[in-house]
């Protein structure tokens, strides 16, 4: 199929599924002893919806994002699963088809905007690139469009900034430029990988507000990757919590943040509150997530689980990993202590040896 025509194809309407990841696995084929980085995650994003992916560093959030763009670092490959974007499987696409997708229908924002902008080319050229490549417009039209976009993302005096280089911009400005570049080709899906982690809190609030305004205006679907739950609560419609390469809880943001069921989600929320207990100590999750993938059997969160430590250990916790079962009709959790909707789940996953 010729993809240049697909740009003109009608995008899914808000509420219809735009992206469906099912059973995605990312591993290191050259190192058979290394457990998969992403181990069978399934997630869908509807058109116009903001889905947040949260978790500690090393949980596989960024790798999920990169596999959507097929930009995984060398050595890592997707070894199982499908990623359906608007009905087509990204994993079986040719490079040519992928290039139409990248920057055209799926755009990405990175954590360090200054590192991602090319220091040798002018800001205007970089913002214009997606329009020139994907929408085939001439230089003059592109430049006019770039000036318009830079104004929209809140860059004062776009006429002067358009010929700047990235090193002449502050971090907040550079992220605005990145947003302008990402939005320039009118994508359907924006992947924002920790878009404000490198920025000051004051600038962070401004950038998040800008992202929120733009996605509402353009009915853009966003996959927001972050470890900051306050950002999640401000922006996301739905949230998926990742731990050690798996999704452990998923559901509508308000529901999950108000009444989390999985002990890990509870712990993350506790941590981010920074409220001291009666002895003046902050709640913290003991240990680190480093070895969680290497557990041979049982729940991956067990060594750090407060529920298990409090003696509410379920018999299965040590030898069988729970499945991602739905509860309360809208949420899913991967925990033996959470009562599922049905006695038997239709998804049965067990740990492979």
């Amino acid at each position: 199929m010729e993809k240049s025509t697909s740009a003109a194809k009608a995008s899914p309407h808000p509420g219809e599924p735009l992206l469906e990841i099912s059973n995605l696995r990312v591993s290191v084929p050259d190192a058979p002893n290394v457990k998969p980085i992403i181990d069978g995650i399934s997630l869908h994003i509807n058109a116009g919806e903001v889905v947040a992916l949260v978790g500690e560093s090393g949980s596989g959030k960024s790798m999920t994002a990169l596999s959507l763009m097929q930009l995984l670092p060398t050595g890592l490959t997707t070894t199982a699963g499908t990623i359906k974007f608007d009905g087509e499987d990204i994993l079986t696409m040719s490079q040519r088809q992928l290039n139409h997708l990248r920057g055209g229908r799926i755009a990405m924002l990175f954590q360090q905007p200054q590192a991602m902008l090319d220091p040798t080319s002018r800001v205007g050229t970089q913002v214009a690139e997606p329009i020139r490549v994907h929408r085939h417009v001439d230089r003059t039209t592109a430049r006019a469009r770039v000036l318009e976009l830079l104004g929209e993302v809140g860059i004062p005096d776009p006429g002067a900034r358009v010929d700047c280089f990235s090193y002449e911009l502050s971090g907040g400005m550079a992220q605005r430029v990145m947003i302008a570049a990402a939005l320039s080709a009118n994508p359907d899906l924006l992947i924002a990988d920790e878009p404000t982690t490198a920025l000051d809190v004051t600038v962070q609030a401004q950038i998040l507000k800008l992202l929120d305004d733009e996605r509402r205006k353009r009915k853009l679907a966003v996959l927001l990757i972050t470890h900051d739950l306050s950002i999640v609560s401000a922006l996301a419609d739905r949230v998926a919590v990742m731990y050690a390469g798996r999704i452990v809880e998923e559901g509508p943001t308000q529901q999950i943040l108000k009444s989390p069921q999985h002990p890990y989600t509870k712990a993350l929320i506790q941590c981010s509150l920074l409220k001291a207990d009666s002895e003046g100590n902050l709640f913290s999750i003991p240990g680190g997530a480093a070895q969680a993938r290497d557990l041979e059997k049982g729940c991956r969160f067990l060594p750090r689980c407060g529920t298990a430590a409090a003696g509410n250990l379920h018999e299965q916790c040590t030898h069988l990993e729970p499945a991602l079962d739905s509860y309360n009709d809208c949420c899913k959790a991967r925990c033996w202590a959470v009562k599922p909707n049905r006695a038997h789940s239709d998804v049965h996953e067990e740990r492979r040896p």
């Binding site: 500690e56 000051d200 809190v201 507000k209 900051d228 306050s230 922006l235 902050l282 913290s284």
Partner: protein, 369 residues
């Protein structure tokens, strides 16, 4: 003249050094970095007349955006970079005037924890070796004793002995931050400066490190200066908080007073942006205009007037003095008592245009200036 030996400090204090003076006193500290290529004294005014005190056993927090001069203050206090002018007394000794052996001994008592633990450790040295260096530098113990001290410190910061032989790349960020904190404490300092100790860490690691710092502060009876841009961390850790903007302190108060009655418009904006959950996206983004100006050309009058939503005409030419708003609460804004109450709580920006004539109202509430 006999050299000041910090180890004899308690003795010397008893002998009659002024005990009424706070442990750390900084007065009119100025640090200007000259700009190469501008011969006639053009300079980046990184720190421009900062004064504060820290009582013994207290934690003072220093907050502000990047580029406001927080880290420069830390570097100047630690004598990692010379000050342009000003006085910094620690334990009643002018640190900025020390030299030679006296300075070397003084360094033992003042330690700095850096923001990025990966950058603060030599990647080619084992963690144990890195931690022993300061001990060797100050001639403490022989090799065997130093090793024991390091191992004991490793367990104090919650790491096991196997870390002694590891390289930095084999550890996570949280573990390395523990190592760096342990290394700073090995010399048993009294004054610890932490420059963004948790900003490179995850939320779960952050609470672990903050707990560790609180615990160690108690055990080693430390006096601390915490630098951060995260007010949530500050609220938990600090006794008093100073808010910096473009090289100057714009507000300083006790922690609870600062969060309950923030007086400076910049403090209000900072609090609202840090407390996204409580204040919501709209109100927090609307409390500041534009971007921080360059410290190369600070704005005339009140340095904050270019971004202040309450700015009046007078603000652009009146240089703001430090005004006492209440006891132990100082603010650098001449209109501090005329700002709308509770602007941080919610939606002040939304209500602009109605109500309350005597109070100053936001002039332009939009970010996209």
């Amino acid at each position: 003249m006999t050299l000041y030996d910090p180890i004899e400090r308690n003795l010397s204090r008893d002998k009659g050094t002024d005990q009424s003076e706070p442990f750390v006193v900084v007065q009119d500290l100025v640090k200007h970095y000259p700009v190469p290529g501008f011969p006639r004294g053009r300079s980046v005014k990184s720190v421009d007349g900062v004064s504060f005190t820290i009582k013994e056993g207290e934690i003072l927090g220093l907050v502000g955006e990047s580029g406001c001069g927080k880290s420069t203050i830390a570097r100047v206090l630690m004598r990692l970079t010379p000050a342009t002018s000003g006085v910094a007394r620690v334990d009643a000794r002018n640190v900025l005037a020390m030299k030679g052996e006296e300075l070397r001994r003084m360094r033992r008592t003042m330690q700095l924890v850096f923001q990025d633990p990966f950058a603060a450790l030599d990647p080619r040295m084992k963690i144990g070796e890195s931690m022993e260096v300061p001990l060797a530098q100050h001639g403490i113990g022989h090799a065997r004793e130093r090793r024991d001290l390091v191992l004991r410190m490793l367990s104090d910061v919650g790491l096991d002995a196997s870390f002694y032989d590891r390289y930095p790349k084999q550890c996570s960020g949280g573990q390395l931050q523990r190592v760096v904190i342990g290394r700073a404490l090995l010399l048993k300092p009294w004054f610890l400066v932490c420059d963004e100790p948790t900003s490179a860490l995850d939320a779960s690691m952050r609470t672990q490190i903050l707990n560790l710092l609180t615990d160690l502060k108690r055990r080693f009876s430390l006096t601390m200066l915490m630098i951060s841009h995260d007010l949530r961390v500050m609220r938990y850790m600090c006794d008093r908080i100073a808010v910096m903007y473009l090289g100057q302190i714009v507000e300083i108060a006790d922690r609870d007073e600062l969060f309950e009655n923030p007086r400076h418009p910049y403090t209000r904006a900072l609090i609202a942006s840090s407390m996204l959950e409580e204040s919501g996206l709209n109100s927090s983004a609307g409390l500041l205009k534009g971007e921080a100006p360059s410290p190369l050309h600070p704005p005339s009058g009140c340095r904050f007037h270019t971004r202040c939503i309450y700015a009046r005409e007078a603000c652009s030419h009146n240089v703001q003095e430090f005004i006492q708003a209440s006891q132990d609460h100082h603010v650098r804004c001449q209109f501090w008592d005329q700002l709308e109450e509770g602007a941080t709580a919610a939606s002040s920006a939304d209500g602009a245009g109605l109500e309350a004539p005597p109070a100053l109202r936001p002039q332009a509430a939009h970010v996209a200036a």
